[in-house]
C-alpha cells in the first residue's frame, strides 16, 4: 500500500504548479477564456514541450509510459489551476482507446507531440453513461468503413482535429458484442460538427455522422472492454483534477475567512463558518482518498476496477460540487463573480460531475457490482 507521491511525482506536481501560476493565473482567467475558441493551442504546445502530452502514452506507442499515479499528480495540478485544456480527453482517454492498436499510430504521435487534439465519441445520449449503448452504425462500403449516427455530446470535441468514435457492426444498442472503434478525421465530418462552449471554458461538440468515412482501429466487434477500461482511466484523471480544484477552492476560502471582516471581526472567527470550512476540508480528504483508491484499482480485475472507479465518480462528484458551492457561499457576493477564481472552480466541478456518466449511472454500476 503506497498512497503518497514518489519524488518524481512530487517534482511533476511542482512543475505543473509553477506552470499554472505562470500561464493560468487566476487574475487573467477571464481574458484567457474570452480570447480562446480553439482549445488554447499555444498553451498546448507549451505543455507538450514539458513532456506532459507524452506522459500517459505507453512506451510501446512512443510515449513516456507514465503510471496512473503519474497522471494523477499532473491532473491534480490541472484542477488546482483550472487549466482548461482538453488534456484528459486528448492525452488520457484517446491514447487509452487507441494505444497499441493498428491504425492509431499517427494520431498518437501527433497527440504526444502536442500537434493535435483528439476527442472520443464513445457515449451516446440515450445510453445514460453506458458505452454499450451504441446506435451508430458502421458499414463496409467498397472495402471502406462508413459511419452513420449521432454522438450528441463529445467531451472536448469542439477543438478536436480527430475523433475516435464507437460504432456498431452488429447487434442492438446495449449489446456488449459488435462494437468497434473508428478514427474519423475532422475534415471528413464537414458541417457534421456542431460546436458548443461550456461554462468552464471547454469546447464540446455534437457529431452527426452520415455515411462518414472512417478508419477501423483493429478488427471491429470486441471493443467494449477497451472502451470501458479507457473511460475508467480517464475518469480517474478527472477525479484527480477535481480533487486539485477542490483543494484550491478550499484554500482560497480559508484564506478569505482569515482576511475578510464583517461586524468588526474576521469572519473566520464565526464558528458556523469555521465548521463549514471543516466540512469542506473533510470533503477534500474524501475526494483525495477515493481518488487514490480508484486510481490504484485501474490495473485490478474489471469488476473491482469498475466498482472503485464508479465509487470515486459518485463521491467526488458529490463532494466536489459541495465544496465549490460552499466556496462561493462563504465568499458571499464576490464568490459569484467572474473575477474571483472560486466561481470558476464551481463551474468546472459541475461539468466534471456530468462528464463521462453522471452520478446516477455510476451509482447503479456500483449497485450492480455489489450484488
Amino acid at each position: 500500500m503506497e498512497l503518497t507521491f514518489n519524488s518524481e511525482q512530487i517534482m511533476l506536481a511542482d512543475s505543473v504548479g509553477r506552470y499554472g501560476l505562470d500561464k493560468w493565473p487566476a487574475i487573467n482567467r477571464h481574458k484567457l477564456l474570452a480570447g480562446e475558441q480553439d482549445g488554447f493551442r499555444e498553451r498546448w504546445r507549451e505543455m507538450a514541450e514539458l513532456g506532459w502530452t507524452l506522459l500517459p502514452i505507453a512506451e510501446d506507442d512512443g510515449g513516456l509510459g507514465g503510471s496512473a499515479v503519474d497522471v494523477m499528480a499532473l491532473a491534480e495540478g490541472l484542477g488546482r489551476h483550472l487549466i482548461a485544456v482538453p488534456y484528459v480527453t486528448s492525452c488520457v482517454l484517446v491514447p487509452a482507446l487507441i494505444g497499441g492498436v493498428p491504425g492509431g499510430e499517427d494520431l498518437l504521435g501527433a497527440l504526444g507531440e502536442g500537434k493535435a487534439f483528439a476527442a472520443a465519441g464513445v457515449l451516446e445520449a440515450e445510453g445514460g453513461g453506458d458505452p454499450a449503448w451504441v446506435t451508430t452504425r458502421a458499414e463496409k462500403v467498397g472495402g471502406a468503413w462508413q459511419l452513420t449516427g449521432i454522438k450528441e455530446h463529445v467531451e472536448d470535441g469542439g477543438c478536436a482535429d480527430a475523433f475516435v468514435v464507437s460504432a456498431r457492426v452488429e447487434g442492438e444498442a446495449g449489446d456488449a458484442e459488435g462494437i468497434g472503434l473508428f478514427l474519423v478525421d475532422r475534415a471528413a465530418l464537414g458541417d457534421g460538427v456542431a460546436r458548443f462552449r461550456a461554462v468552464d471554458g471547454h469546447l464540446h461538440a455534437r457529431l452527426t455522422l452520415q455515411g462518414t468515412p472512417a478508419l477501423a482501429l483493429g478488427e471491429p466487434g470486441q471493443a467494449l472492454p477497451r472502451i470501458v477500461a479507457a473511460l475508467d482511466r480517464a475518469i480517474c484523471a478527472h477525479l484527480a483534477e477535481a480533487t486539485g480544484s477542490m483543494e484550491a477552492a478550499t484554500a482560497a476560502t480559508v484564506e478569505y475567512l482569515k482576511t475578510r471582516e464583517q461586524f468588526g471581526q474576521r469572519i473566520g472567527s464565526f464558528q458556523a463558518l469555521q465548521h463549514r470550512a471543516v466540512d469542506m476540508t473533510v470533503a477534500c480528504e474524501e475526494a483525495r482518498a477515493i481518488t487514490w483508491h480508484a486510481t490504484l484499482s485501474l490495473d485490478a480485475a474489471p469488476g473491482s476496477r469498475q466498482r472503485a472507479v464508479s465509487a470515486g465518480k459518485v463521491r467526488v462528484g458529490q463532494s466536489g460540487v459541495y465544496v465549490a458551492q460552499q466556496a462561493v457561499q462563504l465568499h458571499g457576493g464576490v464568490g459569484f463573480c467572474e473575477e474571483l477564481i472560486v466561481s470558476h472552480h464551481l463551474r468546472r466541478q459541475m461539468m466534471l460531475d456530468m462528464a463521462m456518466g453522471g452520478q446516477g449511472h455510476h451509482l447503479s454500476r456500483v449497485a450492480q457490482l455489489s450484488v
Binding site: 477571464h30 475558441q37 457515449l123 445520449a125 440515450e126 445510453g127 445514460g128 453506458d130 449503448w133 450528441e152 455530446h153 467531451e155 469542439g158 444498442a173 446495449g174 456542431a194 460546436r195 458548443f196 462552449r197 461550456a198 461554462v199 471547454h202 469546447l203 464540446h204 455534437r206 471582516e261 464583517q262 461586524f263 468588526g264 464565526f270 458556523a272 463558518l273 458551492q325 462561493v328 457561499q329 458571499g332 457576493g333 464568490g335 459569484f336 463573480c337 467572474e338 473575477e339 466561481s343 470558476h344 464551481l346 463551474r347 459541475m350 461539468m351 456530468m354 462528464a355 453522471g358 446516477g360 451509482l363 447503479s364
Partner: protein, 392 residues
Amino acid sequence: MELSLDAKDTAFRDEVREFFSTGVPDSWRDRVRAGLRLSPDELTGYQQRLAARGWGAPTWPVEYGGTGWTPTQLCVFWSEAARADAPHQFHQGLELIGPIIFSYGSPEQKDYYLPRIIQAQDWWCQGYSEPGAGSDLASLRARADRDGDDYVLNGQKTWTSYAHVASQVFLLARTSHEARRQQGISLILAPMDTPGFRINPIATMDEKYHTNELFMDNARVPVANRVGDEGRGWEYGKVLLDRERMVAAANVIFLGQIVRGITDAARRRKIRGRALADDPGFAAKLAQFTVELTTLQAMVLRLLDDMTRGADSGPRGSMVKLRWSQLYQAGTALWVEALGPEAAQFAALDGATLPADMPAALQGALYARVTSIYGGSSEIQHNIIARRALGL
C-alpha cells in the same frame, strides 16, 4: 399551488386565468421556469400590460394605485401567473422603494414617483451595499454632504443590480457621523443620469449581466430627493421587513414553475429506451423535491393567513427565504441532471443550435447560487432566527 377557494375567489381566479390565457410569449417559458429574470424590455412591457389592466401594483393599497387585493387574491394572482409561465414583476420599484415612498415620502414624492413605478416609466435600482459593507450594512461609508439645497454624494456602491438600465436609484448615505453606526444615514433618491455617477459592470458566473458597481464622485442631488428625515434612513428600511413576507411568498409560488421544467426535460430524455421520468430513481428525487416544495408552499399559506389576520409572522419570513433559496438550488440542479451531459453545451458556436431549455436550466442553476447570498445570506438568516425566535 393547490388552493381551496370560496366562490368569490374562484371567480377572481377565473378572471386572472382569462387574463393570462394570452399575452405570454412561448419564448419566456424556459427562462421564467428557471427563475431567470426576463430582459428589462420584456419586463417593462409586461408591467405596462398589467398596469393597463389596473393590476400594476398587486401588493399596494388602492389609494396609491394598487389593487388592494387580499392575501388570498395575491396568492391566486401569483399562482395563475406562474401557471401561465408569466414572470414575477420586477421588484425594485414595486416592493423595495415604492412602499417606503408611500409610507414616508412627501406628497410631491408620492405624486411623482408612484405612478411612474406602476406605469414602468421608471426602472429603479438599489444603492445599499458597499464593498466593505455586505452583510454588515451599518458599516457603510458613502457620504452625502449638505451644500446649500443639494447633497453632494461621494463613495462607492456595489451589487447595484440593473443600474445599467435604471432611470433612478435609491441609496443610503451618511449625512452625519454618529456614535451608533446605524444613525446619521439618510435615504436619497437620484436620477441615474446625475453627473458624477459612473457605473462599472460586474461580470457574474451565470454569464448574465445583472449587476454593477456604482461610483459617486461629487454627484449633486437636491435635498428634496431625501425621503423622510435626515439621518433616519436606516429606520425606513423596517417597513420592508413586513413586506419581505410577500416577496418571499411570491418567490415560492413562482418556484412551482420549475417542476414543469424538470418534468418536461425528464419526459423528453430517453435512457436505454425509457423516459427518464419513468426511472424510479429519478422519479423518487423529483417526488422528494415536490414534497419539499409542497411543504414550503404550505409555509407560505401560513404567512398569507397571518397577513389576513394582521398577525406577526415572527421569523417565518426568514425561514421561507432560507428554504426557497435551498429549493431553487435543488430544483435547478435536478433540471440540469434531467438534461444530461448535453447541458454542458452552454453556448452554441458557429451558428449551431440548442434546445430552448438548455442554457436556461444551467444558467438558472448558476444564478441560484446567489440567492442564498443576497438579501441576507443563509448564514445571516440563521443568526436572525437564532436571536429573534430562540433568544440565543
